[in-house]
């Protein structure tokens, strides 16, 4: 009989366990984002003015931990707990999209002091005005979908 927990036959989680798993990862991440103050508009201002090491330390050490674990996964061809092989994303080879799209994103990051993750964390933390920022970001993505064939990639 299949119930809301994990499916014991295949090891794949049922819908409730699947949802709990990813909501849980998100809650962990959101909690860390707020407690490290990287969701703060002021911290982003410090970063872009080179007035504090905080953001550089956070991003640098996060990348270092990610790099070591990704290296281990590749080196030992590790699999997920469900036995799936772990593949890495292959990005499109063109360069303009990364530099141009990245620069526009950077302008938005500096103005709002928030990237997509922190926008959700801030809404949860009670700064509900950021729902407007989120709606504008969704509109930005929708607009990109409409005009993308005219842009260099």
């Amino acid at each position: 009989m299949r119930h809301a927990g994990s499916d014991t036959n295949t090891g794949t989680p049922g819908p409730a366990a699947f949802a709990a798993r990813y909501v849980g990862v998100g809650a962990y991440f959101g909690f860390v984002l707020v407690n490290s103050e990287v969701v703060s508009w002021y911290r982003i201002q410090e970063m872009f003015r080179f007035h504090s090491f905080h953001m550089y330390g956070v991003i640098g050490s996060a990348v270092l931990v990610g790099m070591i674990t990704v290296w281990l996964v590749r080196r030992y061809e590790l699999r997920s707990i469900g036995g799936e092989p772990i593949a890495f994303k292959v990005f499109d080879p063109g360069w303009p999209r990364y530099l141009l799209g990245g620069s526009l994103f950077g302008v938005g990051w500096a103005l709002t002091g928030a990237c997509p993750g922190p926008i959700a964390a801030l809404i949860g933390a009670g700064l509900t005005g950021f729902t407007i920022v989120l709606a504008a970001a969704v509109l930005g993505t929708w607009t990109y979908a409409q005009v993308r064939h005219k842009l260099p990639h």
Binding site: Y22, V23, G26, Y28, F29, G30, F31, V32, L33, V34, S36, E37, S40, W41, Y42, I44, Q45, E46, F48, R49, V58, S61, V63, V65, M67, T69, V70, S80, P85, F88, F91, D92, R97, Y98, G101, L104, V107, G108, A110, L111, T112, C115, P116, G117, A120, A121, L122, G124, A125, L127, G129, I132, V133, A136, A137, G140, W142, Y144, Q146, L151
Partner: protein, 190 residues
């Protein structure tokens, strides 16, 4: 007990926060071979709406269901850390940043984001509207053009040693520096 509560309230130094953020990458890989990157959610939210656009027509539940759940979880984590276990002390800001912002016409208020720019009532001010709507729009437009944001490029992509991500992060800083030093003073003067 009080020590634990104090630790949970934060704020945490970079050498605690950074590694904990970095661990999200292997956590998602091991839980289900998922790649950490949050701006895809903006695309999934568009894909929920009916559309004939080929970029937005795909099975968002299958591709992005897990990521949308994670995104909702981030708001929950924000609620836990920012409301239930909120740190009562004002958010730290470097003195030099506070001075520069004051010169541009914005006083540091100790909140996570200046209420003068991001409260509901600031929607009716030109500078609040500009920062929230133009800024948010560019976050969504730029992240999808660059096919990633801070999480997908600056953390996961750099951890994977992808040159495209290094280029995107260079772009983040070009745009961020221009906006901070040239655009923001103009917007704050509005």
């Amino acid at each position: 007990m009080e020590l634990i509560l104090a630790a949970l309230r934060g704020p945490w130094p970079w050498y605690v926060a950074g590694p904990l953020i970095g661990l999200t990458v292997p956590l998602l890989l091991f839980l289900g071979s998922k790649r950490f990157g949050l701006s895809s959610n903006l695309r999934h939210m568009c894909a929920v709406l009916p559309s004939r656009n080929s970029y937005l027509r795909y099975d968002w539940r299958r591709e992005g269901g897990w990521n949308l759940l994670m995104y909702a979880g981030i708001a929950l984590g924000g609620l836990l850390a920012g409301v239930l276990l909120a740190d009562p002390a004002p958010v730290e800001v470097a003195d030099s940043t506070a001075v520069a912002l004051a010169r541009a016409g914005l006083e540091v208020d100790g909140a996570l984001a200046p209420q003068e720019l991001f409260s509901w009532s600031s929607l009716f001010t030109v500078r609040g509207l500009t920062v929230m709507v133009l800024g948010g729009f560019l976050v969504g437009f730029g992240a999808r053009w660059a096919s990633g944001c801070t999480s997908g490029h600056a953390i996961t992509g750099l951890a994977e040693l992808q040159w495209q991500s290094l280029l995107a992060v260079a772009g983040f800083f070009i745009g961020g520096l221009l906006a901070t030093h040239l655009l923001l003073p103009l917007v704050l003067a509005l």
